[in-house]
Symmetry: C2
Subunit: 508 residues, 2 copies
Amino acid sequence: MFATRCAVRRLPQRAARRWAHTPATLKFNSVTEQDIAHFQKILPAASIISTLSPVSSPASELSIFNDDWMNKYHGKSTTVLRPKSTKEVSEIVKYCNERGIAIVPQGGNTGLVGGSVPLKDELILSLGNMTKIRSFDPVSGIIVADAGCILEAMSEYLAPHDYIMPLDLGAKGSCQIGGNVSTNAGGLRLLRYGNLHGSVLGLEVVLPDGTVLDQLSTLRKDNTGYDLKQLFIGAEGTLGIVTGVSILAAPAPQASSNVMLALPKYDNVLPLFREVKRQLSEILSAFEFIDRKSYELAVKHGQGRALNDEDVEGAECFVLVETSGGKREHDEEKLNGLLESLLEADEPLINTGVLSQSPAQFSQLWAIREGITEAVSKEGKAYKYDISIPVASFKEVVDKTRDHLKSKGLLHDDAVKHVVGYGHVGDGNLHLNVVAAAYTPEIEAALEPFVYELVASYKGSISAEHGIGAMKTHALQYSKSTTSIDLMKKIKALFDPKGIMNPGKVLE
Amino acid sequence: MFATRCAVRRLPQRAARRWAHTPATLKFNSVTEQDIAHFQKILPAASIISTLSPVSSPASELSIFNDDWMNKYHGKSTTVLRPKSTKEVSEIVKYCNERGIAIVPQGGNTGLVGGSVPLKDELILSLGNMTKIRSFDPVSGIIVADAGCILEAMSEYLAPHDYIMPLDLGAKGSCQIGGNVSTNAGGLRLLRYGNLHGSVLGLEVVLPDGTVLDQLSTLRKDNTGYDLKQLFIGAEGTLGIVTGVSILAAPAPQASSNVMLALPKYDNVLPLFREVKRQLSEILSAFEFIDRKSYELAVKHGQGRALNDEDVEGAECFVLVETSGGKREHDEEKLNGLLESLLEADEPLINTGVLSQSPAQFSQLWAIREGITEAVSKEGKAYKYDISIPVASFKEVVDKTRDHLKSKGLLHDDAVKHVVGYGHVGDGNLHLNVVAAAYTPEIEAALEPFVYELVASYKGSISAEHGIGAMKTHALQYSKSTTSIDLMKKIKALFDPKGIMNPGKVLE
Ligand SMILES: Cc1cc2nc3c(=O)[nH]c(=O)nc-3n(C[C@H](O)[C@H](O)[C@H](O)COP(=O)(O)OP(=O)(O)OC[C@H]3O[C@@H](n4cnc5c(N)ncnc54)[C@H](O)[C@@H]3O)c2cc1C
Ligand SMILES: Cc1cc2nc3c(=O)[nH]c(=O)nc-3n(C[C@H](O)[C@H](O)[C@H](O)COP(=O)(O)OP(=O)(O)OC[C@H]3O[C@@H](n4cnc5c(N)ncnc54)[C@H](O)[C@@H]3O)c2cc1C
């Protein structure tokens, strides 16, 4: 989760902690002036940015493509191509495949695992010029768009039709639907609208040999053979380039409300989640968990103006509940009913609850939850783990990590200051943040592989939503068996025998 | 859609209209007495049914496994194995792979496309003895079960926990969760809870060489590499044997209502669908379309007791709307509000609406919709097409098919009596039924490939939910490009190089 829902901001620059591995066995050709000459035949001049002659763009023009969003990973590509059509993408890819030039597909470049920038000097193929909405059917809600469409632009396109995109995330002003599909992005609406494997109905993909795979179906149901498009959802650009996406939009809710609940103890989170699900049922759209320390950091760094001291007193943790439904009165009645029954229970699960009464208060409550990331980064250097574990184990994982650091003598003000947990309880997605005074090899050694092993011991995922990219290829085995990884490698070899598509990402 | 929600019934027996193709190139070994001797080493006696010595079961014991639900496809297998554990499945498959014995995985044997029975004398591996619920987490709603669990048994297991399965279908008393996953079954809840690609969270699969692929995750979010399990969803047993399934159950709705709407004209269906979606939003759980002739057939054959003559007068078609929500009063208020606004509109989209007032009336309204299949089969011989097309084209496809038959001189009482359409508007899934006096080669020739070509011209699917099985392998190209089919074949070869897994199904 990130500090803001509506704008992409750069985090303070920090030194790279680990450099990604490049597969030693693969050799690719660098882009040459001859290649540029060829690209000039298939693309208009405006679609080619290159430091190579005769284009000779200044290096600075390349940097927004070479550097990732966190400014942590830095590619050395000489050339960015910005095709406008699937046909152009296909011609570029076909040529690169023949020439043995490696390609990094790039969307909005907001990925957080170093997948969207080159490891070396791979060609960058940016989808940023492919921004057409191809079709929208207001009856079924199915929208078909070029892969380069910005998520927010699609939301804006849908709004007057009373539809919303089935996903939403902090990066929406920059990330592209093709990038979202390629990372299988989760985000803020997953609890309600499910994941992209369910809502993406079709894809158009340029395969690594340049062939166009047209599975751009606008059907909700199609059981004719293997569902190949699923493989590209979350493949992080290693199996081909997504050029078109067909996706099911959701009817826009007519009303949204939220409430911040203060819990006397951590153990109440799960029974509370059950009760909230039962009572709010289909209108529940978020159930976000915030531990006490996360809350305090948010307050300390200016995010927590919505609660009074008495609301907070004695609370071990907080839960933010959001509803979205078809009728405001009904939703409010349900929320009020929930609050009453919670407060009147014999052994109440909550101490208190603050219900937003206006759009401004609604945003203030969200600001606490969404401000944690920023607050954490103001407090110190954060080791961030975006993990999926069974909901029942959230507390255990935070506690075990803290205990482990303590046993290593690292839990004090000059080393690790806080171990905090927050995240999407509804999705089993915990953001485990270890806030340190500084990044040190000692802390890193204490944390890894400890955290990955801990996650593995719960059959958890070391990457709930951000993907593997270049950052976690070496850790894949903590979440996937050798059998799985071997099969992935075979699939990769089948689609991309020369390995030109985003080399060194996902698989080592 | 089928005549009943709660029981599996055999349709009247009818002659097979087309026999499936067996791939000429593949040669397999028949099961021998030596093989039986080997199976006896790895399985208890009760798990082996075989006409071969020394087991020597009577042939009649094999027939429920060899004959499909429609009694249209008939295998000639000598041997059915009913393992109780994944380990046993793995040992059987490993052995068969080495020996070149082909295997048909079989669940509840309720499939409608001949996929679940052998084409020749393949070994049948029935999952019917693997019926354990492995775990259930009442907080997240994630249930993990053996593949052989009957869908209805899983629903019953969940009921006391206030959860429901995210899918429901007429065959629920017999079909198994492994079979549902393998056919990517749609059914009655898809509009509300989405498809299995979204709700299946993990699978355990025995691969064609006997290796166990454990991707039995209980996580809602996991972005660690390619999502391999997706390939098995809808693979109809051709890539491996599903032995375990992890799936997200949905909180049980507290209340359900329905209403039958009579429309003056077909053209109103789509605007009505939009309006209903807008007003009912998250509580809409079904939007089923019934054309006038389908309705009349239902009445004629005893299904239509719920509407009066004046409700029906002047109606060109009907729509059944169902709501399921968390609070009865709210849902009824929304439904009443919808009906009022529909009736008071300047140009009303509906003539009238009948709202169920009791559980009995609720069932009576559903009985009309669900009784069509039975009514159609009483009226004559039905050519049934289970197609997906853009919702906007439903009427056109029915009309074009009727016109085409007319132009061939086949639209009269001795040939084609009716061309009717009904189905899940919400899912874009039309059941196009051509009701004839008898099955004749002339009618079949007029219908095929005409209907498949028509479907293809809308970029539709020739199989919305039933799959390809043995029945439609030759027609796959109407819904999938050569590029897609070639890739599917490569995937098949990658997983199953010897082709032992359900040969002749899905791919020719
Ligand atoms: C402020 C902020 C908030 C975020 N919030 C969330 C969140 O809530 N949930 C979440 O899941 N993620 C979140 N993310 C990370 C998320 O993965 C990305 O924001 C987004 O999905 C990536 O889209 P993009 O267009 O920027 O892709 P990029 O960053 O450009 O690329 C990401 C990966 O996909 C590949 N790729 C991109 N486009 C294509 C294509 N057309 N074809 C093939 N491969 C392609 C790239 O090669 C790369 O491997 C957040 C990031 C930021 C900066
Ligand atoms: C009355 C009735 C109503 C129906 N309603 C619907 C409906 O509304 N929607 C819909 O989509 N379908 C419907 N169907 C068809 C539907 O496909 C099946 O009912 C069901 O999904 C198949 O489950 P099964 O266990 O019976 O599988 P089977 O019929 O035994 O097998 C179906 C296919 O899956 C394979 N298979 C089965 N189990 C496994 C396994 N464990 N591992 C690998 N492969 C396996 C088989 O080899 C075969 O190819 C209906 C059928 C009937 C008879």
